[in-house]
């Protein structure tokens, strides 16, 4: 999320909205720092794949700043050049936080995002930015507005085919999807009028939200799907996994999915087992807060993942 926020600051704001934090003040900012302590500054290394096929290494830092001076003075911390007038956890003088993404090779700042904590929520961005759709965060509960926008885009570009196919697997009576007067309507066989999406089940809405996003991706897109299983009927899981992997294999987008559900993982494993070409395309990570090593991500390749499920090893704690 932090690496994603390094190119698209809206991710931070939308993440807070999901947390039902709508103001951007000091307490809202604190949530991005481990243990709500400004001294625990997140630091992420990531590898980015350009359209040309070249990779570049990036380091993203999140630093809390206590100065009112804007922009703040850069200080060499030893690890990187960043503004590090750090506040203590109780120090409310913190009034700004900076998100700095640097190219590791030459320490050049690619993006610097400055979030004011005065409550105004002002965001200032310096450097390269991507399109606002570059990072898409799909929360565990779906909202209709972004889905409407994405379906309209698919319709306009005649890309809605795979979406319709998936919906038909969920409900075979569906024969079409329409966007009319800012409303998402579904053509259901045997009904006198087009039916508002809201009248159909949560599972259908969820599947539509995910698929409408995935189909519209390209290689610069990162999609983050939180708790994918929420609202989904068990019979849809396999089809959805299959469709997601098939589509992103083509668009080369990167998708992060979170789940606590063992059934969801088992369905994913079945899909990967059925198609060996899918296997190297998916990795499973167990993100854990450990006692000695702090937050740590444990990576499972397909083989590890399959073995863990076969042996009933708990990989979700």
């Amino acid at each position: 999320m932090l690496a994603a926020g390094g190119v698209e600051p809206e991710v931070f704001l939308s993440l807070n909205k999901v947390r039902e934090i709508f103001k951007l003040d000091v307490d809202a900012i604190r949530g991005f720092f481990y243990n709500l302590d400004f001294q625990n500054q997140p630091f992420i290394k990531s590898e980015w794949l350009a359209e040309s096929g070249e990779t570049s290494l990036r380091e993203t830092h999140l630093v809390a700043v206590e100065s009112n001076v804007f922009p703040v003075e850069e200080i060499d911390t030893g690890r990187s050049k960043a503004n590090v007038l750090i506040a203590t956890p109780t120090d409310v003088r913190v009034n700004q936080f900076d998100l700095i993404t640097k190219r590791k090779e030459n320490d050049e700042t690619i993006v610097r995002v400055q979030f004011s904590s005065s409550g105004g929520g002002a965001v200032s961005v310096k450097g390269e930015t991507k399109l606002s759709e570059a990072i898409v965060f799909l929360p565990s509960t779906t909202t209709q507005e972004p889905t409407l926008r994405r379906v309209a885009y698919l319709k306009e570009n005649r890309l809605e085919g795979p979406l319709l196919e998936l919906l038909q697997k969920i409900d075979s009576r569906i024969v079409g999807i329409e966007v009319i007067n800012e409303r998402l309507l579904v053509d259901v066989k045997g009904t006198a009028k087009l039916m508002p999406l809201g009248l159909l089940g949560d599972g259908l809405k969820k599947a539509m939200s995910i698929m409408a996003t995935i189909i519209g991706t390209d290689s610069s897109t990162i999609v983050i799907i939180d708790e994918i299983e929420n609202g989904l009927h068990y019979s849809v899981h396999k089809e959805l996994w299959k469709d997601i992997i098939t589509i992103i294999s083509r668009t080369r987008a990167q998708v992060f999915v979170t789940t606590h559900n063992i059934e969801t993982l088992k369905y994913l494993q079945e899909v990967l087992e059925d198609d060996v070409e899918f296997q190297p395309k998916v990795r499973c990570y167990n993100i854990a807060r450990t006692k000695k090593a702090g937050f740590k991500a444990y990576k499972y390749t397909y083989k590890d993942f399959e073995s863990a499920l076969e042996m009933e090893t708990e990989i979700r704690n």
Binding site: T290, D304, E312
Partner: protein, 199 residues
Amino acid sequence: MQQYIRLFVEGKSDRKFLSDLIYCEFGYNFPEEYFVITGGWTRLFERKNIIELQRVQDEDGVSLVIFDADKSLISRRNNLLSEVKENLLNIELFLFPDNISSGDLESLLLSIANKEKHEAFFRCFDEYINCLQVYSDKYEEKYKKELSLPPRKACVFEYLEIHNQETKEEKRDYTNATYWNLDSPHLDPLKDFLRPFFT
């Protein structure tokens, strides 16, 4: 139990037996998800299990590894510990049946079976083993090593089946004193091994 403990075993039969023993001896219901089933001793060092061992270290916890000694306790111990060292890991190792002798879980189970009450069954099974020994002696020399004698797994299975007890390895009830003596001195080495982590 405050400490982060994971118990690495070869199969579901080991998990059920140790789970029953820990509950009876230490009054602790050690959750199933705290066991890591490897699927055999050679698989302890598969990446998936190394991840689990590493996780225990990150949690400042303890990895208890309880495997079969099989034919040679010394070579099994040496093999496991050298790989542990190579991977910069830490484990506490116990080999069935008693961390001294060669053997396996079934050797230990047969030593704690209620032989007083079921003497006739074991006499009968001993005769069966003797009979198989004769069969083995006459078996073509070059194929002899393929025979697995004595058939300890079959004996435990028969012991339970003939008395209409659950035979599935993951469902057996080792707390049933009619069939198993969890106070047997044969269990002392295993209990001594477990005690520091469960009391």
